[in-house]
Symmetry: C2
Subunit: 498 residues, 2 copies
């Protein structure tokens, strides 16, 4: 089916501006990213007001999220100027090469072309129009088409306008960022051959549908979807003994913030049996004010999951909380915390294990730490995060086994602390094995995300004047070049046996 | 459908040994790779004899290919010890971080787990049991199951035995490499949840089928398929004038070697009209001895493609060549070279554009260099390579436009030389946009291939004694660690505007 005239114009525009945006010099592209950050902060007041109206998220949270979004753009600006992300490798021509004369070969990474980014509902800034995937794709040199989330349509339009204006003012071609709306428009655009990569943050159901579409295209494209995660947390017996109060406080804060509508909300907290946590958890939970839910779909989904969990035999309610719909149709919730022994979790996996997107978490009581890693391996699929609360200096075989399971099954392993509030830094990994993501070889937060939107190309035997700037000997962009000298290949393998 | 008992045992074994192989220290893993290289060279005589029998490839070619395979393993051994591939990033804890207190975050890349590698027919060493994907996966720390190519079954078994023995002798757990046979076994194994990545070298038809299976699994996995490529080469008018003899000689050598059964064989050579190449091309082609084809399937496929091309209206035969089947059922061929104007190529795309896997190439005569880039963009999908033969110092807008098209549509852009004989070096890129590969974000030749079999994981707030070795401050493996210091985030973005 052909695109509608509007979508056709947008796809054509993205393809048309791709070469010019890809060819921008690092400083110019970096300055454009900084200009976007500045423009977002300048417009912050009106953007945050719109966000509050459309999402029900709190002012402080949205201000923090917008600042994070701007800092993220500045971080990518530095990454672009730094140039390590290009992974420049230069093999000198080598007449003495072990396999016969080696030509001069130079390799770097180029932008893939237009990217389609499906915005999330729960981060109207940081995972939406101006979010991480947009920042990474723009930094890589790719035009971006954002499919707006229907949960914040006006904010999406306004954010796109701020970005587009800032880009044009910074000298970028008009059309480096464009916005589309509607589920069918997103699907149709994802099938268009001019789109070279897709990114997404949302549910397993929708993410899988889109990933399947991307894979089934006549020309398949990479699709980076962040889907569902229950983020199990584990307190050892010694860890709980040392810090019960802090664990309870941190746990409830992490579950309750933004009404638990965070992909990294801890959905399970494993604690030793015989603990005295019910009362402090109930007390801490009761102190949490009611919070609006993002939209009608979220409210229905959360109520259904909560009902299923509360209706499961063997579940004990620690803090019942509530979920209600007001006269204007907005959902509101206070946190619900339940507890159960491992046997109940094992017996009722079908009702207990799926993500509850909202302020609900399950406290699981175990008898012995040696159960934890095997139980986790048995029950959990891939997750964005895994958290352990151990005592200072604790280093038992059971703890090491649990940490090993977390490293194999999640994208981020936390010691102490809580998985919500993902920091934006070079070393951050926000991803994880299916169904946490559709592709666990990359991240959607942190500078490494730029690699999603690059592919390598090599030049062999090229004259200097026909090489792209990063591959030239005079290195006009001053990027790191990994040079592999001639005459070394006869000794390959000797580092291993030295 | 459950696996057969044999396949079940193999999958279970791969999963069982994965943690131990992943945990090998760099030197030990590197020594095991060198041990494989040594063992292959020690067994070279018998392996090459087997290869000659089963594939019809020449002794010199197979000796060269085996040496290349051993050198590749040694290169990966050094890569493992070097440790840059781990991409270690350490963010120091930062109380002054721009978005609030930043925890200590450390990220590196870990092996994905068992890899299923589908061997190719045309490189019984370099893209088969001991080939590039096996070397990269073993280097990454992943156990490998190779699905043998039916074209060289005994060589596959013997090579696997040599590798397995060398690995065990080097202290690796038994089962780090295993072999399976049969199409259905390959498909069934690809669907097994214990397999974490797939790789393949072969036809578009089979590669697409396998890629679709990998994407449709309940838990999708990355699938790195190298499929089809026609590798267009272009001689400018000045380039041809300067080096006609060398171009003809290099072209025919590249088309004819290994009976053209190479994924990088130049399938098209664009030359200016009015050239005098027919006679020298015919003379050079006539001097090529008949060469056996790999197997019955290759013979049938090549004969069909050759018939279709020879039967296309407007095609002029420069060197007719031959393809025949001997009494033992082996196919034999001498090169076929045809020529045609661009108009014929445009008019009969359906019969002319598909890869002819064998010693056939099409000389396309153009009138003006300004035609080349637009024509290439119109006709060709993704390719592994693009080649240009220009005169020394030539740098016209038409040439730059052609180079730009090549960089966008291929994985390797060659200036002079020919795409066959891919050198194994850190900067090599062997890949390219669909249908050259199913995934153009990586390479199947060169050290960067190790990235196919790794995924990132971050540790947040971890005590030193629970960190993996590459992330520890004392850095016992001496790997490069990119440290991001505290106190810098307030100035992010300022590099762009300095």
């Amino acid at each position: 089916m052909p695109l509608t005239p509007d979508l056709e114009r947008i796809a054509a525009r993205a393809a048309e501006v791709a070469p010019a945006w890809a060819a921008t010099e690092p400083k110019q592209r970096a300055q454009a990213l900084v200009a976007i950050a500045d423009a977002l902060m300048t417009a912050s007041e009106s953007l945050v007001v719109l966000g509050m109206e459309e999402t029900g998220l709190a002012e402080a949270r949205l201000n923090g999220e917008l600042k994070r979004t701007a800092v993220q753009l500045r971080l990518f600006a530095d990454e672009v100027v730094d140039g390590r992300y290009l992974d420049v490798r230069i093999d000198e021509a080598d007449p003495d090469f072990a396999l016969g004369v080696r030509p001069d070969v130079r390799r770097y990474r180029i932008p893939v072309g237009p990217v389609l980014n499906f915005a999330a509902s729960n981060f109207p800034f940081a995972f939406s129009v101006a979010g991480g995937d947009t920042a990474a794709a723009l930094a890589a040199g790719c035009p971006v088409i954002v499919k707006a989330h229907p949960g914040h349509p006006r904010l999406s339009v306004e954010t796109a306008r701020v970005i587009a204006d800032a880009l044009v003012d910074a000298g970028a071609p008009d059309g480096v960022i464009q916005l589309i709306s509607g589920q069918q428009a997103g699907v149709d655009m994802l099938k268009d051959p001019r789109i070279k990569a897709g990114s997404f943050t949302g549910s397993i159901r929708v993410g899988r549908m889109l990933a399947d579409i991307a894979a089934a295209r006549p020309t398949p494209i990479p699709f980076y979807g962040e889907l569902g995660s229950v983020n199990p947390a584990f307190a050892t017996r010694a860890g709980l003994a040392a810090s019960a109060d802090a664990i309870v406080e941190g746990f409830i804060t992490s579950v309750a913030q933004s009404a638990g509508q965070l992909c990294t909300k801890p959905g399970f907290l494993f604690v030793p049996s015989g603990n005295q946590l019910s009362e402090p958890i109930a007390t801490a939970t009761d102190a949490i004010a009611e919070h609006r839910l993002l939209n009608a779909g979220t409210t229905v989904g959360y109520r259904d999951r909560r009902d299923a969990i509360l209706g499961t035999p063997g579940v004990t309610v620690i803090a019942e909380g509530d979920v209600r719909v007001d006269d204007e149709g907005n959902g509101w919730a206070t946190p619900t915390i339940v507890s159960l022994p491992t046997s109940v979790l094992r017996e009722h996996q079908e009702s207990l294990l799926d993500e509850a997107f909202g302020p609900l978490s399950i406290v699981v009581e175990y008898d012995d730490e040696s159960e934890l890693a095997p139980l986790a391996a048995e029950l959990f699929e891939g997750n964005l995060t895994g958290t352990v609360h151990a005592a200072r200096g604790e280093n038992t075989p059971e703890l090491r086994e649990l940490v090993e399971w977390m490293s194999q099954s999640t994208g981020r392993v936390l010691f102490g602390g809580w998985p919500t509030g993902v920091t934006v830094t070079p070393a951050m990994q926000h991803g994880g094995p299916w169904p946490a993501t559709t592709n666990d070889s990359s991240t959607s937060v942190g500078t490494a995300a730029i690699g999603r939107f690059l592919r390598p190309v090599a030049y062999q035997g090229a004259p200097q004047d026909l090489l792209p700037a990063p591959l030239r000997d005079d290195n006009p962009w001053c990027v790191p070049q990994q040079r592999n000298l001639a005459g070394k290949s006869q000794s390959w393998g000797t580092r291993a046996v030295r």
